[in-house]
Amino acid sequence: MITYIIRRLFAGVGLLLIVSMVVFAIFFLIPRLAGTDADGLAARYIGKSPTPEAIAAVKERLNLDEPITVQYGEFVKGLVVGTEYDSGTDVIECSAPCFGYSFKTGTEVWPQLIDRLPVTASLAVGAAVIWLVAGVSIGVLSALRRGTALDRAAMMVALAGVSLPIFFTGLVSLAVFSYYWGIFPPGGSFTPFTENPIAWAHGLVLPWVTLAFLYAAMYARLTRAGMLDTMGEDFIRTARAKGLPERTVIGKHALRSALTPIITIFGLDFGLMLGGAVLTESTFSLPGLGKYAVDAIRGNDLPVVLGVTMFTAVFVVIANLIVDLLYAWVDPRVRVGA
């Protein structure tokens, strides 16, 4: 088990390295390949209407004239031990972990990320609870009552759910529940949990349900398919032949096997979501990580987008690692086989 954990940890670090390369390539290599020169790239990192002096300074600070490998080295160094953006005349400190520096607003990105994480985490955790409970139970029920009116109705709703864009369901729910009925506050408000838990939950109900609806629909479809496959397996027949009560057959045997792929997908989805539920946050104007990135893109503030992207990638890698370890704990075959 220890060797397995160590091996997974190494794989996680390797994955992180690859992801950082890809993120770096998107922001610094691809624009160059598309024909932007160092000045043009520097201008994009400043934002709107840059002066020639500002461009020269940023070019110097980000080492845009140096080879790409040096730039990448500085980027990783910043993430691990922090870095200094030296323009030749003055120096901007960016302490570790340096997720970048917004030249437009004159702020480090990392404190901003930490500032917004609670909003995104509140959204993600609440929605995840709803979608897991709703999605899995509807999926299981549908599979057990296959072909009945209940199954067909549930699957129709689920199909509609995966076909609806979040930003549309979000707007409709805002119009109905906030504007016409006035039950929930309009978008744009967030109360920290520590301040007032009730206001916190009240303000997040609509975003939670909107986000959870899509995922619950996906998970219901997946769970149903998985359960139907599992119910046809030999070990289910064996369990029934042993005379086990149907509840044990389904609860202990079928569900456990059908849920393993769901754990994997859940780990990935949740990791991605912690990096910013971009669409939900934009629709409800929640000041989370996703909204931060979207506002940055609109305001041409590239370092922020880079920071959020890298931050998300870290979450995804960590989520992957946790899923791997959970697997090994749930299923002994993984430890031996891998």
Partner: protein, 332 residues
């Protein structure tokens, strides 16, 4: 695992249908494609989906004609329709009338119907092209991984895992943000569409790749492949002539199911303001403009939202039906 078009399995559920074989003749001599078509035709829900998909494709192709007959040019302002104080339509129901079928946009007074019709072009174009990119990359990689196995398979499979773990939407936003205004000999909306097609297509290939890899793994062990190999056929010949024809069914099914995902993706990017640039009409872009008017002009929000929903739903219904029709394991 059973191959998608297993002869013995597929022939069984296909009942003789009266039109094709009169007098109760056997259904011997029908090709697998015909059998699947017969099954698909009996699936009413799937056929409704198919009908709507064809309808939407026609709308996209004939957009200029439709708009000339039933609407106004998509970027033409009609401020005479706008209340100067509220800046929404001065007629009831958001300005819906015989002249403006779905009403007018707040502020500008542009014809919502025309913009929906033109928006279909962008959605369908990017949805189709991006799916083609995914299918080509996914099929090539999946077949190579599944057929050659060993370290090639390990490498490609790991690559697919990594791709699936990426924050796609953020990446796409970043890429659209860093690409200059003119590149690769393109500029303006042509460049934007090319970038969107490439990004959406490139990041979605592992979905197809995984499925094709799995199918190839099982096909590789079949007798006809062994026969071809023992006759001295090269790897390339086996891939092209023996494996690829057997992969047509899953490729078809999963492309049909990937198109709606890509349409949603494009709409999301347009909604976030990193899609095709204004004033070109896109469904996602219209919804993002509707955010500020969801209470004052519900028709402005509902029209593009329902357009996206119905189109995506139609593709999903058709794709599900196609999968059932081509899968010998499902019994109708």
């Amino acid at each position: 695992m059973t191959a998608p078009l297993d002869v013995s399995g597929a022939a069984e559920p296909a009942r003789p249908d009266k039109g094709a074989s009169p007098g109760g003749a056997t259904d011997r001599g029908r090709s697998l494609g015909q059998i699947a078509w017969t099954r698909l035709r009996q699936d009413k829900v799937a056929m409704i989906g198919f009908g709507f998909v064809v309808f939407m494709a026609l709308v996209a192709v004939c957009a200029p004609l439709i708009v000339r007959l039933l609407g106004h040019p998509p970027n033409e302002w009609h401020q005479e329709m706008i209340d100067p104080v509220l800046s929404t339509a001065n007629a009831p129901w958001g300005g819906m009338s015989g002249e403006f079928l779905l009403g007018v946009e707040p502020v500008t007074g542009r014809d919502i119907f025309s913009r929906i019709v033109y928006g279909a072009r962008i959605s369908m174009l990017i949805g189709f092209l991006a799916t083609m990119v995914s299918v080509v990359i996914g099929t090539v990689m999946g077949v190579i991984a599944g057929y050659f196995g060993g370290w090639v398979d390990a490498f490609i499979s790991r690559l697919m895992d990594i791709f699936l773990a990426f924050p796609l939407l953020l990446f796409a936003m970043a890429l659209v943000g860093v690409i200059p205004d003119a590149a690769f000999g393109l500029q303006g909306n042509g460049l934007r569409i090319a970038i969107l097609v490439f990004i959406i297509g490139f990041f979605n290939w592992p979905y197809i790749g995984r499925i094709i890899r799995g199918q190839t793994l099982s096909l590789r062990e079949r007798e006809f492949v062994e026969a071809a190999r023992s006759l001295g056929a090269s790897n390339f010949y086996i891939l092209r002539k023996e494996l690829l024809p057997n992969l047509v069914a899953p490729i078809l099914v999963y492309s049909t199911l990937l198109i709606p995902t890509n349409i949603l993706f494009e709409a999301a990017l347009s909604f976030l303001g990193v899609g095709v640039e204004a004033p070109t009409a896109t469904w996602g872009g219209m919804l993002s403009e509707a955010v500020d008017y969801y209470n004052a002009a519900p028709n402005f929000m509902l029209a593009p939202g329902l357009a996206i929903f119905l189109t995506v739903l139609a593709f999903n219904l058709f794709g599900d039906g196609l999968r059932d029709a081509l899968d010998p394991r499902t019994q109708s």
